[in-house]
């Protein structure tokens, strides 16, 4: 290893820097001292916890350990994608989980087996971080896509029903909203792809460089990851929007607006 190992003392030194923020809060009467303390503690506790979990998984690199962890990660991503937006519908949680699951696993499989070609197939050192990165971005796309679909259909109810009343099919009535929703879900990924390397250096690439990997190799990884993220996020958004569409339009070409209700 040609990088510096870090001790707990090193963390303590870095933590001292937080006191600068604390002092600022006191001097400027921001009233953020308590929140700052809690945020700093959460950073330490959450990251240490995941560090231990990952160490344990890497030490027990068996499929029956790795697979459940990947399932759990996907489930959490699906659930948190469903938690946003003012309005919701019965089944949104399931739709989020399904769309994230299908798209992320499909794309991760291509990335891991066809591009990076890991061996064995459940090699946690690759499988977990790569699935994690894909999930994190897909969850944003899915969540924005569903949220926008619900918004467009609620705000544009008059137009949706006008199209139906003129003899339009349910898809003809929904397609404008669906297009807007898919676009909304894909924009963050597109933005990210167009500024990567200029405005931001991605965490994974930075990490690989810090760990002693050559920048060119790190960049190759990053490019692959960006494409995997874009594919999964796009696919996930489309699946999520289509699932939402099926929930709020009946086969009788009716718009079931009552299914879109305020979140309790």
């Amino acid at each position: 290893m040609n990088y510096q190992s870090l001790s707990n003392l090193d963390i303590a030194i870095a933590a001292a820097l937080i006191f600068i923020n604390g002092a600022l809060s006191v001097c400027l009467k921001l009233g953020l001292g308590r929140q700052l303390l809690i945020a700093a503690l959460r950073t330490v506790v959450q990251l240490l916890a995941i560090g231990y979990v990952l160490s344990w998984i890497f030490a027990n690199a068996q499929w029956y350990v790795v697979l459940p962890v990947m399932c759990l990660m996907t489930l959490i991503a699906g659930l948190s994608a469903a938690g946003r937006g003012k309005r919701t519908y019965a089944g949104q949680r399931l739709d989020s989980i399904v769309s994230i699951w299908v798209s992320s696993w499909l794309v991760a499989a291509v990335g891991l087996f066809a591009v990076i070609r890991i061996h064995p197939w459940y090699e946690p050192q690759y499988a977990i971080p790569i699935l994690g990165m894909i999930l994190g971005n897909t969850l944003t796309g899915v969540s924005l896509g569903i949220e926008r679909m619900i918004h467009e259909l609620t705000a544009g109810r008059g137009q949706v029903e006008m199209t139906l009343a003129l003899g339009g099919t349910r898809w003809e009535a929904a397609q404008l909203a669906a297009r807007q929703a898919v676009r909304a879900g894909m924009i963050p990924t597109l933005n990210q792809m167009s500024v990567v390397g200029l405005v931001s250096l991605p965490g994974m690439m930075t990490g690989q460089v810090l760990a002693g990997e050559s920048p060119l190799q790190a960049v190759r990884y990053q490019i692959i990851i960006m494409f995997l993220i874009a594919a999964a996020s796009g696919l996930g958004t489309v699946v999520a929007v289509l699932l939402t569409y099926r929930r709020v339009f009946s086969p009788q070409h009716r718009f079931l607006a009552w299914r879109l209700h305020r979140r309790d």
Binding site: Q159, M162, A165, L166, H253
Partner: protein, 256 residues
């Protein structure tokens, strides 16, 4: 049983009038068809009902109703009486909790509902317009699959607009600049150019000035003939008398 049997012939009947490339040989089947079609009401509601969430009462109590060719029906009544509920149900925009609708004696299969709505057009109180010119809005229905057999005809539209006292220049105006009355005229012309057999009007003039009310009524009069039918929901008893031959009052989900 009869539902499944009847629904089989439905698309052929509906598709007939829009079929392009019609020849003279088709004239005889057309006469037979016309004879057969006139035996039945245009729309028949058989024991349809709709209630709110279980236990909270009726939106529409069980109703049997036939709308025949030549019928001009007005429905008045206090708000919340279920007038819109009935109209939306007839347009198949909402599902009944029981009962069924028939069009010209035939049950309506799910996949033929767009066809049904081509014939039975619902006009909302608040017209929904697309962002664009008046003409863009008028062209819009022809982008839908169900109207693929017909094309936008400017002359026919201009004739309709004439009945509402609108000049040619109306076509180029932007939909967002229109007054409430002009928007409703546009929504109505957009529907009438498609030659529906039945119009379901849900208080189309509720928020309009007297001149616009007159224009809307004139447009509907121009479209109407003895083969067609209309149901006009209105809050104004004088208008109800003016636009219809038969008047009903609706109270608490009951049509009387």
């Amino acid at each position: 049983m009869h539902v499944a049997n009847n629904s089989v012939g439905f698309p052929a009947v509906l598709a007939w009038s829009a079929k392009p490339g019609r020849t003279e040989h088709d004239a005889i089947p057309l006469m037979q068809e016309t004879f057969r079609l006139n035996q039945f009401p245009l729309i028949e509601a058989i024991s349809v009902s709709r209630h709110d969430n279980p236990g909270t009462g009726w939106l529409l109590e069980t109703l049997n109703y036939a709308l025949n060719p030549g019928d001009r029906v007005a429905i008045t009544g206090p708000s919340g009486a279920g007038k819109s509920v009935l109209l939306r149900l007839l347009a198949m925009l909402d599902a009944p909790d029981s009962g069924e609708l028939r069009y010209r004696g035939q049950a309506i299969a799910d996949r033929h509902i767009p066809d049904y709505r081509r014939q039975v057009c619902y006009i909302a109180q608040k017209p929904a317009l697309l962002d664009g010119s008046v003409e863009d809005n008028l062209r819009y229905p022809y982008s839908l699959k169900v109207h693929a057999g017909s094309r936008y005809q400017r002359d026919a539209v201009l004739r309709l607009l004439e009945h509402a006292g609108k000049p040619v220049g109306f076509l180029t105006r932007h939909a967002s600049e229109l007054s409430g009355g002009e928007a409703q005229v546009l929504a109505l012309v957009r529907a009438l150019q498609l030659n529906p057999q039945v119009l379901l009007l849900d208080e189309p003039t509720a928020a309009l000035d007297p001149v616009s009310v007159q224009q809307v009524e004139a447009l509907v009069d121009a479209w109407f003939d003895a083969s067609r039918a209309l149901v006009w929901v209105s809050h104004d008893p004088a208008q109800a008398l003016r636009v219809s031959h038969r008047q009903h009052v609706m109270k608490a989900g009951v049509l009387a």
